[in-house]
Symmetry: C2
Subunit: 317 residues, 2 copies
């Protein structure tokens, strides 16, 4: 069951996924995004393993599902995980073909447990960056990780105030406002074009966002508008932090292809056409923030300065 | 008859105004904005003059209407014009009370003609800043003046391409897209958070916006998001221009009170609640752009550099 983020906050509804093709469609149609995509990929592969009739069929099915999931979005960031599942499947089919499907599902479940623990660790690291009284601006939605960070800070007696950009055109700020306010945190929305007002007035003390991709040089690729926010933060001396994963083989942010989405995602909102018929719109879904704008990268294992990245920071904790 | 800009581009509809209180309401409710407000103020005062029963009544009515119009929005920029009308009324009532109303209406009509000629002159000056092949980014809506400029450039054989920000939360970018595309110009919308992508890629060669207010030191106050755009333009070496009026007695941009509008203008869009119930939103309707970010001010009489403003630039052409 997949939470349909596109319906939040008006409707809390779930999509039943019974085949990996439905997982591909949910990712492509942005029913889920960011970290939710990884869960959808892993559960989609577990479903595929469960349905396989034989060892040989299992290998072919897992390859087919992995390929389709990888093609779901151009910035797909989870190839490392689909490769892991393919490796487990090869091993299991070779060693004990009769129980291979169960073995693969077991591996995936264990991985999900590890990921949960890694995310908790990363939130604890982020919490160490925040102090009592901080006023934190965020962009888009970090799939619950900023909320997790805020809860840890609350347990530590730190009071935080949050500002969230709307994040046009998909308005993921509504997800941030929804999850933070549900849990009693002080969160205020701002139009994307108001960031300078929060930053220039000294109202905001820190900026933090997620990152769909990070490169070996510390560049990040994240939701459209992140680079603008980082640039403005630097201009006004406010530190900019990002939650990141491992960079894999990506050397710089320039190496990540940027996904361009349909103009209708800008010109139509929930069935209402906002702009004149035929209006052109320019909507790259992501942008690249150079590492020079970033004060700290919060990885699963430690906090790193992009200006001084140690060799081997690509290795998982 | 007032064009209801809040209904564009879906519906082209007009509001019938028969009393200055309806003019006040139309301005307060943003049925019209920017230059449209000046027309509404002047026609509202002409209506008031037409309805006055006597010379004494005329003076009181014009004062009452002027005061109410001035209070319609905190950034009200047209006090110079309401003061002019009050002066004409005082004179006319003193000299020829019986025909005073007609005299005042005549003055207002002449002023409207002068303003039309001044706007044409300002558009011609702006056109001189643009070259064949320029790619121009704009924000909010200049009440037809950028369109006028584009037409002059077209007549001069200069081909221009336009990008328009959406300008959340009121989406005035839809007005720019509407008026430019109606006239066959190449215009593409971008979410406000995408400006950096247009500016950093060398795609955009010039930025131009209107300005609700300008100060004697060259600071401008304009639609929320303008200062962010100017800052980003400076970062990437793209010149930023603004159409301005006369500064009057405003010394710096800091002297202009900023209007804060209701959070519902952010959280509700055409009756759809976009955000969770009770979500706080921060919506200053304007912001101040320091003169250091501005390459040229386009006045009604000449093009000025804010870095080098001549004495007496406050005098009308």
């Amino acid at each position: 069951m997949l939470l349909d983020e596109s319906q939040l906050p008006e409707t809390v509804s779930y999509i039943r996924i019974e085949h990996y093709t439905e997982a591909v469609a949910a990712i492509r149609d942005m029913k889920t995004r960011a970290f939710g995509q990884l869960l959808t990929v892993l559960y989609g592969l577990a479903l595929t393993a469960r349905k396989a009739s034989s060892g040989d069929g299992l290998m072919a099915d897992i390859r087919e599902a992995s390929d389709a999931l990888k093609r779901s979005r151009p910035t797909f960031a989870f190839a490392r995980y689909t490769d892991l599942v393919i490796g487990w499947t090869q091993d299991a089919v070779q060693k004990e073909p009769d129980t291979a499907a169960d073995t693969v599902v077991g591996h995936i479940q264990a991985l999900l447990g590890t990921i949960k623990a890694m995310r908790l660790k990363r939130a604890q690291l982020a919490a160490s960056l925040f102090e009592d009284g901080d006023i934190i601006l965020t962009h888009c939605n970090t799939s619950g990780e900023l909320l997790l960070t805020a809860r840890i800070c609350r347990d530590q007696g730190k009071r935080l105030v949050f500002y969230a950009t709307e994040t046009r055109p998909y308005l993921q700020g509504r997800l941030t406002a929804w999850e933070m306010s549900q849990d009693g945190f002080d969160v205020t929305l701002i139009p994307d074009n108001r960031a300078v007002s929060i930053l220039s007035s000294g109202r905001c003390t820190k900026v933090i966002t997620g990152a769909d991709r990070v490169a070996l040089n510390g560049d990040i690729v994240n939701k459209t508008g992140t680079s603008q926010l980082a640039l403005l933060a630097r201009e006004f001396g406010v530190p900019f932090y990002a939650f990141v994963q491992e960079p894999g083989k990506t050397a710089t942010g320039e190496d990540v292809p940027i996904e361009f989405r349909a103009k209708e995602e800008v010109t139509i909102y929930k069935g209402n056409t906002v702009y004149p018929y035929g209006t052109e719109a320019f909507y790259p879904a992501f942008d690249m923030t150079p590492h020079g704008y970033i004060a700290k990268l919060v990885t699963f294992g430690k906090i790193l300065s992009p200006a001084d990245l140690p060799a081997g920071w690509n290795i998982q904790p």
